[in-house]
């Protein structure tokens, strides 16, 4: 799974938009959307919101957590705690990236938010690396991954699995080549 796929999943999240056109309810496989009234907020998936935004058909209302003060608080908490703290949205990174890239004019203090979310992300990834490190160095068999988002798991997965494989190879005295099929132990 690569990050674009995770982003694709994130696009299913709902976000509020204020359309500037009028349209009746539309019926899609994923569910009904609308009705769209000009000036009245309505919930739509991110993919539609971005599409409409790019066509200048709507304004996006940023999610409640996308607020400097709340994010600052979250950042502090994240820095203070050793474990992962709950994140505002399971797709916070992806949503921030998408919304700030396409609708930064609708989001107050977009730059600050970008920095804050990046800070939170960096803190979390650092924690993740640290715990991966201790996981490997202490030869643990399993780890608890509470409050991790899909994107975060995804970032570490390729590296972690490969390195575990490598470690395994190095640790086992088996000849290279005959170790196939035993990776599943981890």
């Amino acid at each position: 799974m690569d990050s674009s796929e995770v982003e694709f999943l994130a696009e299913k999240e709902m976000v509020k938009i204020i359309p500037n056109f009028s349209l009746d309810r539309i019926y899609l496989i994923g569910g009904d959307l609308g009705p769209f009234n000009p000036g009245l907020p309505v919930d739509v998936p991110v993919w539609l919101a971005l599409n409409l935004k790019q066509r200048q058909k709507c304004r996006i209302v940023p999610p409640a957590w996308m607020d400097v003060e709340k994010l600052e608080e979250m950042r502090e908490l994240e820095r203070k705690e050793d474990t992962f703290t709950p994140v505002p949205s399971p797709y916070y990174m992806e949503l921030t990236k998408l919304l700030l890239n396409y609708a930064s004019d609708n989001i107050p203090k977009a730059d600050e938010i970008r920095t804050l979310v990046k800070d939170i992300w960096d803190t979390r990834i650092a924690k993740l690396r640290l715990s991966a490190d201790s996981f490997i160095s202490q030869l643990e068999a399993h780890a608890k991954l509470d409050n991790l988002t899909l994107m975060e798991i995804n970032t570490i997965r390729a590296f972690l699995l490969d390195s575990l494989n490598c470690m395994y190879k190095l640790r086992s005295n088996l000849q290279p080549g005959s170790s196939k099929g035993q990776f599943t132990d981890y």
Binding site: N20, P38, G39, P41, R59
Partner: protein, 1109 residues
């Protein structure tokens, strides 16, 4: 000491806040974590002035028009008050100051800082500083000795120190506090306070108690404590008289002690239990204002110190005297005082100071006695007369005089309503004209209009004076940016145009500018100058027209292209004005309002083809002490408005243009100072579109506010109960349904789906309420509800009632059903021009008044009916037919049946006597007629309105006709309408065989069994309600077989008679009549046999019927 705790309001963002009163007590001044100092004109001031002093403000002090603040840039600054101009930096620390205070004269400021130092600075010359060193931790608080010799400070090192200011030395130190290393870790702020006036005591909050140290000896003389006080005391404050001490604690409790008696005289609790971090007394001693660490501001009002005061007797007098004193001090300037008055009051003109208190009291006695007497006997006339003199002498307008009610002198007395002013109702300042959907004009960035079409924003700052027009729906027009060279202050926006207006200036007349962007020619703009001396006060746009109300009490109409149209005078100064389609709604000042009320009048005009005034100058109902804050039309065109209390009212056109409150936006507000700024109302769907504003009445332009949707809720009683909820839903639905009739009557297209939907919803609600009332054994209520139902729902109700074994109820309901059928029939010819869709509710509400007239005419009508009975009957039947066809096609056949029977019984009525009735419910109604006793027992007086036509021998046929039509349709319909609901399992693909759906079915030859089934189907379904269609037929077959041969024969014969078909009606009339007779007998037999068999509810019904026969 009784006092009233006012609800908390939002003051600042979260964090430490401080509060004080200004010298006059007129303003509350707060500072907070957001770096602003706010100046509130009272707790309800939603638009306080503010002075930004830094990023954070830690402490403030205010005296003699100088505002001293400790801000985050480590300085102590001065600002002028109330203007807020910076007036220099008083001193600096290496870190931020924690507490600043003035001395009693206002000449010096002391500041404690986190860098362990305390500085005392001369306000006039900031170079004269005295630094007090010795604390070993950040300073928590400082306080001046009122006599200016000493200074006390508390510090995080746990000590409370008294300093000699001149010598800059520590006099004494008490290690009474807990040690901490920083203010943020300190459990308590330990705000010290020195008793004002005599300066005898220094109050030090120590844990849950307050220690009092005596000046001079520095002994700990007493401790104020309260058993209920379990939390650390954060802050203490002396009352201006020095007799009371208030303390606020970490847990939010507020305590007031009488220092002489050491008794706790008042306990209050912060409504949310937040830490009280600042506390201040009103200069008069009647109020305490406090703030908490969450940034909220609260007030204790009505603190009267008299009850526990030993000096009570002289207190009010002193107060009054001082009042007078004040008054005359004011006068000294103009020396216009009445001689006599000055003589009588001359003693009190002596300056009063704290030192010569005793002398003063003696001196005051004569005046005291007089004043107190007057207060006691309430000799209003006398005082009024004197006041008159006073006013003449002073040449002061009444309004200004009212402002002197605040006493500047720190009085040792409670506030007594002894103002030397007129005490009757005071006129309210009339509210200014405004554009609904705009924010105040003094803002540099403001909304000039926000309505359902779009947003007009005005910018008026140094760089730019411009107007932005933006449309919600970009399909209307693209956004526009205009330079505002004329200085427009008012705007309106519609689908066709933007209308702007500016007030007149010295050189230029007031102008009206219209950007008619929907125009198809190239000239999209026009401008009109108003006559000199006439200013635009309000403006609005309708469809194809624009209206402007001016300062000359004139209303000018323009066409949207710029042609001047009608002009007329307004009865008062306009408040605001809105247009929608052809309608114009104007609100103006009817008269001056009194005691905070506004006296507004409203006019509703309709243009278009038939121009008329729908509401002519009726008073506009507002909530108490409120003003109009929004006026508009719903998207469907019903006028509505919002007052400043947040109540939304809507015009109820079906109740003689009354105003119904439909929503209270304040109920959904989280905090008292939050408001909703309404931008639009929709009736279908029911939406109140508004912008939530935290801590203000209107939104800022940035960040761009988002619209929220509130539901409507009629303020009915007990909406927590199921009954109340349903009632509320029902009446709301009725109210929001009114626009359909308005729209259709004014020739607009209506959403018929929506209309039928709401009707259905209403009827469903009625049925639910009916069921609920049934369950609660409220039969009278059931009947009342049934009167609101449409006829076919009444039949449903009848069925429900009979199922739940409420025979009396079912009987009464059938009367109502009959009544309704009657009504429909009578009204049909009159209402031909109306649209065919009927709403039962509208009927009952709209036509009830007509009905009384009809009742009066009933006698006449009957005479006529007798004459042309034959004709009448046919005609009536015709109309019935039409009527029911419109109701539903399935009923049509039933009605035809009734029609046939009517025709059958109509002519030969003389020979056959009373027509034999074939239906259970028919029987019931006639049984009622024959037993009026039971009726009067059940419902003593039903009122003339609902009284059915009395059966008179001569008009028997007529009444029978009605009865037949009504009940026939009703009873026959019952299985049809109820089966889908009641018998869910009924298979939908089976056609309803009992009621032929159209003429063709009626024409088809039938067997005797089918006829019998038709007649008895109901009783079968009633006996075994859960039978499926095929089972019903099986059951019916079985029963039919049990009939005797004779009976079966008669049914077959009847069937043959029927098959003769409706083509030759005349022939069939007689035959039909005969068949009817047979039929009746047969059924009677059937019923009698059944009666023995079962005691089911509906068989009980039939038993009832049989009794009659």
């Amino acid at each position: 000491m009784p006092c009233e705790r006012k609800p908390m309001r939002y003051g600042h963002s979260e964090g430490h806040t401080e509060v004080c009163f200004d010298d006059s007590g007129k303003f509350i001044v707060t500072c907070g974590n957001d770096g602003d100092v706010r100046i509130w004109e009272g707790l309800d001031d939603d638009d306080p002035k503010f002075i930004t002093v830094g990023e954070k403000a830690y402490s403030l002090a205010l005296k003699n028009g100088k505002l001293v603040t400790a801000s985050s840039n480590n300085t102590v600054q001065i600002h002028t008050f109330p203007d807020g101009d910076p007036d220099g930096i008083l001193t600096r620390f290496t870190t931020n100051a924690t507490h600043v205070v003035f001395n009693s004269s206002g000449s010096r400021v002391a500041a404690g800082s986190s860098d362990f130092m305390v500085k005392v600075v001369e306000v006039s010359d900031s170079s004269q500083q005295k630094t007090l060193r010795g604390h070993e931790a950040p300073v928590l608080s400082v306080t001046f000795d009122p006599k200016d010799d000493f200074l006390a400070s508390a510090s995080c090192d746990g000590s409370v120190v008294v300093w000699n200011i001149e010598e800059q030395s520590q006099l004494i130190s008490w290690p009474v506090l807990q040690k901490t290393n920083d203010i943020s870790n300190a459990k308590s702020l330990c705000r010290l306070a020195w008793q004002p006036g005599t300066a005898k005591f220094l109050a030090v909050p120590v844990e849950t108690k307050v220690h009092l140290y005596e000046r001079g000896s520095w002994d700990h003389v007493s401790t104020l404590s309260d058993d209920l006080q379990t939390q650390l005391i954060n802050v203490v404050a002396w009352s201006p008289c020095g007799q009371f001490l208030a303390a606020g604690s970490v847990g939010g409790s507020l305590t007031v002690w009488d220092v002489n008696s050491k008794l706790c005289v008042e306990r209050q609790k912060h409504e949310k239990g937040f830490t009280v971090c600042s506390l201040a007394w009103h200069p008069s001693g009647s109020q305490i204002v406090y703030t908490d660490t969450e940034g909220c501001l609260g007030l204790l009002d009505g603190l009267s110190t008299s009850t526990s005061n030993t000096n009570t007797t002289k207190a009010p007098a002193k107060k009054a005297a001082k009042d007078y004193d004040d008054l005359f001090d004011d006068d000294d300037d103009d020396r216009l005082m009445d001689e006599g008055l000055s003589e009588t009051n001359s003693p009190v003109k002596k300056p009063i100071t704290g030192d010569d208190d005793d002398d003063d009291d003696d001196f005051l006695m004569p005046a005291t006695g007089r004043v107190r007497n007057r207060g006691a006997i309430l000799d209003d006339e006398n005082s009024l007369g004197e006041l008159g003199v006073l006013y003449i002498g002073q040449n002061l307008p009444l309004g200004e005089e009212g402002g002197i009610s605040y006493v500047v002198v720190p009085a040792a007395a409670p506030l007594v309503p002894m103002r030397p002013v007129y005490e009757g109702p005071m006129p309210t300042a009339p509210q200014k004209a405004f554009q609904p959907g705009s924010t105040p004009a003094h803002l540099t960035h403001r909304f000039m209009m926000w309505n359902s079409v779009g947003i007009v924003r005005g910018y008026n700052d140094e760089q730019d004076n411009a107007i932005d027009v933006e449309f919600h729906d970009t399909a209307v027009h693209h956004a526009m940016h205009l330079t505002n060279s004329l200085g427009h202050t008012m705007a309106d926006l519609s689908q066709e145009a933007v209308l702007l207006a500016c007030p007149s200036t010295d050189e230029l007349a007031s102008k009206l500018q219209c950007l008619h962007f929907s125009s198809w020619d190239t000239n999209k703009e026009w401008m009109v100058d108003l006559p000199e001396g006439e200013d635009v006060r309000a403006l609005c746009l309708g469809q194809g027209w624009a209206a402007v109300a001016t300062s000359a009490l004139m209303l000018r109409l323009f066409s949207i292209g710029g042609i001047q149209r009608e002009i007329f005078s307004l009865p008062g100064n306009v408040v605001c004005m809105v247009g929608h389609g052809e309608q114009l709604l104007i609100v103006y000042h009817r008269a001056p309002g009194f005691d905070g009320e506004q006296a507004l009048g409203v006019q509703l005009l309709q243009f278009g083809r038939k121009k008329r005034q729908l509401i002519n100058g009726e008073p506009l109902p507002l909530s108490l002490q409120s003003h109009l804050s929004w006026l508009g039309f719903t998207a469907e065109g019903t006028p509505c408005y919002v007052d400043s209390v947040g109540v939304v009212r809507m015009l109820n056109r079906s109740l003689g243009n009354t105003w119904t409150p439909v929503c209270n936006t304040r109920e959904t507000c989280k905090s008292k100072s939050d408001h909703y700024w309404v931008v639009g109302i929709h009736e279908n769907p029911q939406q109140l579109r508004c912008i939530p504003c935290k801590g203000s009445r209107y939104p800022p332009t940035l960040p761009r506010p988002a619209v929220a949707i509130l539901p409507f809720k009629l303020p009915l009683c007990q909406t927590s109960t199921e009954k109340g909820q349903m009632e509320e839903q029902f009446w709301r639905s009725v109210l929001f349904h009114n626009h359909f009739s308005f729209l259709s009557s004014s020739g607009y297209e209506i959403d018929e789906d929506g209309q039928s939907q709401t009707q259905k919803e209403q009827q469903e609600l009625l049925m639910k309420m009916f069921a609920l009332s049934c369950k609660l054994e409220r039969e009278f209520r059931c009947v009342e509800l049934a009167e609101l139902m449409t006829q076919n729902v009444v039949t449903l109700a009848i069925r429900y009632a009979s199922r739940s074994r409420r025979m009396a109820l079912a009987q009464r309901l059938s009367e109502i059903a009959l009544e309704k059928a009657n009504q429909i029939q009578e009204e049909e010819p009159e209402e031909q021009e109306e649209e065919p869709e009927y709403s039962g509710v509208r009927r009952t509400s709209g036509n009830r008044r007509d009905r009384e007239e009809e009742e009066e005419q009933a006698e006449e009508l009957r005479e006529e009916e007798e004459d042309g009975q034959e004709m009448e009957t046919e005609e009536a039947a015709e109309t019935t037919k039409r009527q029911f066809h419109l109701f539903s096609s399935t009923l049509f056949a039933n009605v035809l049946m009734g029609y046939v029977q009517v025709l059958g019984s109509g002519k030969p009525s003389s020979s056959s006597g009373l027509p034999r009735v074939t239906n259970i419910l028919d029987n019931m109604t006639s049984s009622r007629k024959s037993s009026p006793l039971s009726r009067s027992a059940g419902i003593p007086s039903k009122g003339p309105v609902l009284k059915p036509l009395a059966p008179r021998p001569k008009t028997k046929t007529q009444s029978t006709l009605l009865q037949m039509n009504g009940t026939k349709a009703a009873s026959k319909k019952t299985p049809e309408n109820t089966q889908p609901a009641a018998d869910q399992q009924k298979q939908p693909e089976v056609p309803p065989p009992a009621s032929p759906a159209d003429n063709t079915e009626n024409n088809r030859p039938k067997t005797g069994f089918q006829f019998w089934l038709e007649e008895n189907r109901k009783s079968i379904t009633a006996d075994q309600p859960d039978l499926e269609e095929t089972d019903i037929i099986k059951e019916a077959m079985g029963r039919f077989r049990t009939l005797s041969a004779e009976e079966r024969l008669s049914w077959t014969e009847r069937a043959k008679g029927q098959t003769g078909d409706a083509a030759d009606l005349k022939k069939r009339k007689r035959a039909g009549g005969g068949a009817e007779n047979d039929n009746g007998q047969v059924e009677a037999d059937e019923n009698s046999s059944k009666k023995k068999k079962s005691l089911d509810p509906s068989s009980k019904l039939s038993a009832f019927a049989f009794n009659k026969n």
